[in-house]
C-alpha cells in the first residue's frame, strides 16, 4: 500500500503559510472577540506537530514522545522534591536533575558524530536543543524557588509551543504562562496583529528573498570557486574567494535565521503570545558584547542567565577565583566553550567558541582601559563608525570559522 503522507516542515515554503494561516483563523477570530480557544489551539498544534513528524520522520516523532515522558518525570520529580514541606533542597539533587535533563541532548550530540551506519536507529528529533533549553530553565527556576507550581498541560504547551518548536526563539515559562492565561484586550490584540503581519512579511523578505539569494544562489558558486582556487594555490589554500565566502555566508546565516525567527515571532503574535525577538540589528554592534546582546538573543540570554551567572555565583561562593576580573574571564570561556560544544563536536565550533571568548575578554580589557583614560581617547562619529566596522569584520571572520568551510578547504570534510 502506497501511503502518500503530507509532511510539512515548519516555514519551509510559501504554501506552508497558507495552510498555517487558514488553520489559525479560528484562533485569530476568537482572540479578536475576547476568547482564547484553548482546545482548538491544542488540536491545531497537535495536527501541525504530527505533520512535522509523520511520513519519513516518524522515528523522530517516537523519539519526541519518549523524550517528553522522560523530561516530565525529571521536572515533576524535582518539583515535587523542591516544593514538599521542609524540602532539604540539596545541591546534589538539583545537579542530578540538570544532568539528567541534558543527558538526551548530550547523547544526541555525541551520537550524530558517529560514523555513518554505526548507530542503528534514528537519533534525536527536530528541535531537541530548544526543548531542552526550556526544560533546564524551568528546573533552575524551580531550584531558585521562583517557580512553585507547574500545571502539566500548560507546561506541555510551553515545551511543544508549535511556532517555536524547531529552532526557537527560546521563551521563558513564566512569561509564556502569563501570556497564555490572559486574553489580550481588543486594542492590544490589534497591536499584536499589526506586528504579526509586519514580522511575517519581513520574514518573507529575509528568508525567501535575501536568504535565498545569499545562501542558495551565491554561496555554492563561491564555495566551488574557492575550493578550485585553493587547490591550485596549495599551502593554506586561502584565496579572495574565501573572503567572499566569509561575507556571503554571514549574510546568508543572518537572513535565513532572522527570517525564520521572525516567522516564529509572527505566528506567536497571531496566537496572542509575545515570543521574544531573536535579533536586533546585530551588524550595528559597536563591540562584541553588544553583538551578543543583538545576535540570537534568546540563546545568548539563556547562556548568560543559566551558565555565565550560575557559574560566576558558584565560583564566588566556593571562592574558586578571588580576582573578579579573572573570574568573569573564566566564566566567559565556560560559556562560549559550552556553546561551541552544543553547536557540535567538531573542531571549528569549538574554535569558534574560544574565538568569541577571547574576543569578549579583550573587549573587557579595552573597556576598562578606556574608562581609565577617558580624557586622552577621542570619541566621535568616526571612532563610533570605526568600532562598528571593526566589530563587523570580526564577527564575519568568526562566521567563516563557524561555517566549517575552512574544514572543507583544508581537510575535505565539513
Amino acid at each position: 500500500m502506497n501511503f502518500n503522507f503530507i509532511n510539512l516542515q515548519p516555514y519551509s515554503n510559501p504554501q506552508y503559510f497558507i495552510y498555517l494561516l487558514i488553520a489559525l483563523l479560528p484562533i485569530i477570530i476568537g482572540l479578536y472577540f475576547g476568547k482564547r480557544l484553548k482546545n482548538y489551539e491544542a488540536i491545531f498544534s497537535l495536527v501541525f506537530l504530527f505533520l512535522i513528524f509523520d511520513g519519513n520522520h516518524w522515528q523522530e516523532g517516537i523519539n519526541l514522545i519518549i523524550y517528553l515522558i522522560y523530561e516530565f518525570l525529571i521536572t515533576f520529580g524535582y518539583l515535587h522534591y523542591r516544593t514538599k514541606k521542609d524540602s532539604p533542597n540539596k545541591s546534589w539533587v538539583f545537579n542530578l536533575a540538570v544532568v539528567l535533563a541534558i543527558l538526551p541532548l548530550t547523547a544526541v550530540k555525541i551520537l550524530i558524530q558517529m560514523p555513518k551506519g554505526t548507530v542503528p536507529f534514528v537519533v534525536g528529533f527536530l528541535g531537541i536543543s530548544y526543548i531542552t533549553f526550556k526544560n533546564v530553565q524551568v528546573i533552575m527556576e524551580t531550584r531558585d524557588g521562583v517557580i512553585k507550581q507547574i500545571d502539566p498541560l500548560t507546561y506541555a504547551r510551553f515545551l511543544l509551543f508549535f511556532p517555536t518548536i524547531s529552532s526557537g526563539p527560546i521563551d521563558r515559562y513564566r512569561r509564556f504562562k502569563s501570556d497564555y492565561e490572559k486574553v489580550p484586550s481588543r486594542e492590544e490584540y490589534i497591536g499584536d496583529l499589526q506586528l504579526a503581519v509586519r514580522y511575517l512579511f519581513q520574514g518573507f523578505l529575509y528568508k525567501f528573498i535575501l536568504g535565498w539569494f545569499f545562501g542558495t544562489y551565491l554561496l555554492p558558486k563561491i564555495a566551488m570557486r574557492g575550493l578550485i582556487a585553493g587547490n591550485a594555490i596549495g599551502g593554506l589554500k586561502l584565496s579572495w574567494w574565501v573572503v567572499a565566502y566569509m561575507y556571503v555566508y554571514t549574510m546568508y546565516l543572518f537572513f535565513d535565521f532572522a527570517g525564520y525567527s521572525l516567522f516564529a515571532v509572527s505566528i506567536s503574535h497571531f496566537m496572542g503570545i509575545h515570543t521574544p525577538m531573536n535579533f536586533n540589528k546585530p551588524f550595528i554592534s559597536k563591540n562584541i558584547k553588544d553583538f551578543w546582546n543583538r545576535w540570537h538573543m534568546t540563546l545568548s540570554f539563556w547562556f548568560r542567565d543559566y551558565i555565565y551567572m550560575r557559574f560566576t555565583f558558584f565560583a564566588m561562593k566556593k571562592k574558586l577565583i578571588k580576582n573578579r576580573i579573572r573570574l568573569s574571564q573564566v566564566s566567559y570561556f565556560v560559556l562560549f566553550l559550552i556553546m561551541g560544544f552544543w553547536h557540535g563536536l567538531t573542531w571549528y565550533y569549538i574554535v569558534y567558541g574560544i574565538y568569541h571568548a577571547t574576543a569578549i575578554c579583550i573587549n573587557d580589557i579595552w573597556l576598562r582601559f578606556k574608562r581609565k583614560h577617558k580624557d586622552q581617547l577621542p570619541s566621535n562619529k568616526f571612532t563610533q563608525w570605526f568600532a562598528i566596522f571593526l566589530t563587523f569584520q570580526f564577527v564575519c571572520l568568526g562566521m567563516l570559522i563557524f561555517s566549517g568551510y575552512l574544514s572543507q578547504l583544508w581537510f575535505g570534510w565539513q
Binding site: R186, E187, I190, L193, Q194, V197, F201, Y217
Partner: protein, 429 residues
C-alpha cells in the same frame, strides 16, 4: 482610530498584494530570450530548462536540435557534439536535454511543450540500455525532472487513447505525485474519463501561472559552460577530418586516463571509484538485467510522441566500457539482448535511423568512464549525426503499435534480430 480602520490598515495592503500577485501571474506575458541566454541554456543541462517550455520552444524555432539523453551529455570533452557543432559552424546547434537519472518517462513529459516546434523536424536520442532496469524510471530522479507545467499541457491535450491512458497511469504512480488537481486529473485520464469543466478551468489557471513563472525565471541560474565549450573547441584542428579528430581524441584520452587500467577518466576514477568503492563493485553487476523492464513501454511513449510530431529521429545506442563490464561482471549477452529489443521496437515501427554502438565498448578511448561515451565514442556519434543533420527536414510517418505497452512486451526475452543494413527488409514492415 476605529478598530475597523486599524484592521484595514493592517490587512488591506496584504490583501491588495495578493490580488496584485494573482493578476501579475494570470496576465499572459510575452517575452523573448536573448540568443546568449538560449545558447547558455542549451548547454547547461539545468533542470529548470528541462522542465520549462519557452526556452526550448524558441531554441527549436531557431535551429537548435534536441539531444535527448542522460548523464553522458555532460561529458564535455573536445569531441562532444556541442563542441563539434560550435567549432565547425554546423547548421544545427545541440540543445542538451537530460542528465543523471533522466529516463523515458521524464523525457516524454519534457516533450509535451514543444510538439508544434518539432513538427517535421529532427531530434537525436541517446538511448542507454541502463535505463531499462527492473524498476524503470527512478522515482528520485523523477522528482528532480518532473515538470508540472508540461504535465498540465499533457493533461489538457489528453485523449482516450492507449498512450494517454498508459502515460497518465505511469505518472500517477510516481511518489512525487502526492495529492491535488494534477493527480486527480491523471487518475481520470488513466481511467479513460474526461476532465470536468472545473478541473479544466483550474488546470488552465495553473498553466498560466506556471508559464509565467517559466518566462520570468527560467533564464536565472543557468550553468554557464560556454567558456568551457570554447576552450575545448580550441584544441580541435581547424579543418574537419576524422583522422585529425581521432589524433586529438587519442592524445587527450591518453592524458586523462593514465591512472588506471580501465581507461576511465582520472578524475572520475579518483573521486567516484576510490579503492574501497572499487573493490565493492567487483562482480557486483553479474545479475543486472536490462531485458525485462517497464521502461520499454515508457520508451514507447517517447516514440508515440515523435510519431505524432512526425519528427525524424536519430537513435544512438551507446556501449559499456568493456574492461569495466568485465570487472563488474555485467553480461554482454544480456546487454546485446536488450539492444536487440530496443532495435526491434524502433525498426518495426519505422524508426530506421539507428547508430548502434553497443558492441564498441572494447575500442580504445571510446568511453570516458564506466558507461559514458567520450573521445572516440563521440567521434562515432558524429559519424552518424553529421550525415543525419545534412538530410533535409521532412514529414516522417511511423507505424505505431500499442503492443509495446503490454506486459508481454516488457517481459519478452526473445525477439527477431533486425539487420539495420538491409533497408529493403525494413521497409517491409
Amino acid at each position: 482610530m476605529s478598530n475597523r480602520r486599524r484592521l484595514w490598515q493592517i490587512f488591506g495592503p496584504v490583501i491588495c498584494a495578493f490580488i496584485l500577485l494573482l493578476i501579475v501571474f494570470l496576465i499572459p506575458w510575452d517575452r523573448t530570450f536573448s540568443k546568449e541566454d538560449i545558447f547558455e541554456a542549451a548547454n547547461s543541462q539545468n533542470t529548470t530548462v528541462f522542465k520549462g517550455v519557452k526556452m526550448k520552444q524558441e531554441a527549436f524555432d531557431d535551429g537548435y536540435v534536441p539531444f535527448y539523453g542522460s548523464s553522458e551529455l555532460s561529458r564535455l570533452d573536445p569531441l562532444h557534439p556541442s563542441v563539434l557543432a560550435q567549432k565547425y559552424h554546423r547548421n544545427y546547434k545541440p540543445f542538451l536535454l537530460g542528465g543523471p537519472g533522466s529516463q523515458s518517462l521524464v523525457h516524454f513529459i519534457g516533450m509535451q511543450g514543444t510538439s508544434s516546434q518539432l513538427k517535421d523536424k529532427k531530434a537525436v536520442v541517446i538511448i542507454s540500455p541502463q535505463w531499462f532496469t527492473k524498476q524503470g524510471q527512478n522515482p528520485q530522479a523523477f522528482e528532480l525532472y518532473y515538470s508540472p507545467l508540461e504535465t498540465i499541457i499533457f493533461l489538457l491535450n489528453a485523449k482516450n487513447t492507449k498512450t494517454d491512458r498508459y502515460a497518465a497511469k505511469r505518472l500517477a504512480s510516481m511518489p512525487t505525485m502526492k495529492t491535488g488537481a494534477i493527480k486527480t486529473s491523471l487518475k481520470l485520464i488513466a481511467q479513460g474519463k474526461k476532465l470536468t469543466k472545473t478541473e479544466r478551468a483550474w488546470l488552465e489557471a495553473r498553466l498560466r501561472m506556471l508559464e509565467n513563472e517559466d518566462k520570468f525565471f527560467s533564464a536565472f541560474q543557468l550553468r554557464d559552460r560556454i567558456q568551457k565549450i570554447n576552450d575545448q573547441a580550441k584544441l580541435l584542428p581547424n579543418t574537419y577530418s576524422i583522422k585529425g579528430l581521432t589524433a586529438i581524441a587519442n592524445e587527450q584520452a591518453a592524458k586523462h586516463t593514465n591512472s588506471n587500467r580501465f581507461g576511465i577518466d582520472n578524475r572520475f576514477f579518483k573521486t567516484r571509484l576510490p579503492h574501497k568503492e572499487l573493490s565493492k563493485l567487483r562482480g557486483s553487476q553479474r545479475k543486472f538485467d536490462y531485458v525485462k523492464s517497464p521502461e520499454y513501454s515508457d520508451f514507447q511513449l517517447m516514440l508515440e510522441q515523435f510519431a505524432k510530431q512526425h519528427t525524424n529521429v536519430l537513435f544512438i545506442i551507446p556501449p559499456v566500457n568493456a574492461k569495466w563490464a568485465k570487472y563488474t561482471g555485467l553480461s554482454q549477452k544480456m546487454y546485446e539482448q536488450s539492444v536487440d529489443k530496443i532495435r526491434y521496437q524502433l525498426a518495426s515501427q519505422g524508426f530506421e535511423n539507428i547508430a548502434d554502438l553497443s558492441k564498441d565498448g572494447h575500442r580504445k578511448y571510446f568511453m570516458q568512464d564506466t558507461i559514458h561515451l567520450g573521445w572516440n565514442g563521440w567521434i562515432a556519434v558524429d559519424k552518424a549525426v553529421k550525415p543525419f543533420m545534412s538530410t533535409p527536414n521532412g514529414r516522417y510517418n511511423y507505424a505505431i503499435s500499442d503492443y509495446f505497452y503490454s506486459k508481454h512486451w516488457q517481459n519478452r526475452t526473445k525477439v527477431k534480430k533486425i539487420d539495420l543494413t538491409d533497408k529493403a527488409s525494413l521497409k517491409d514492415k
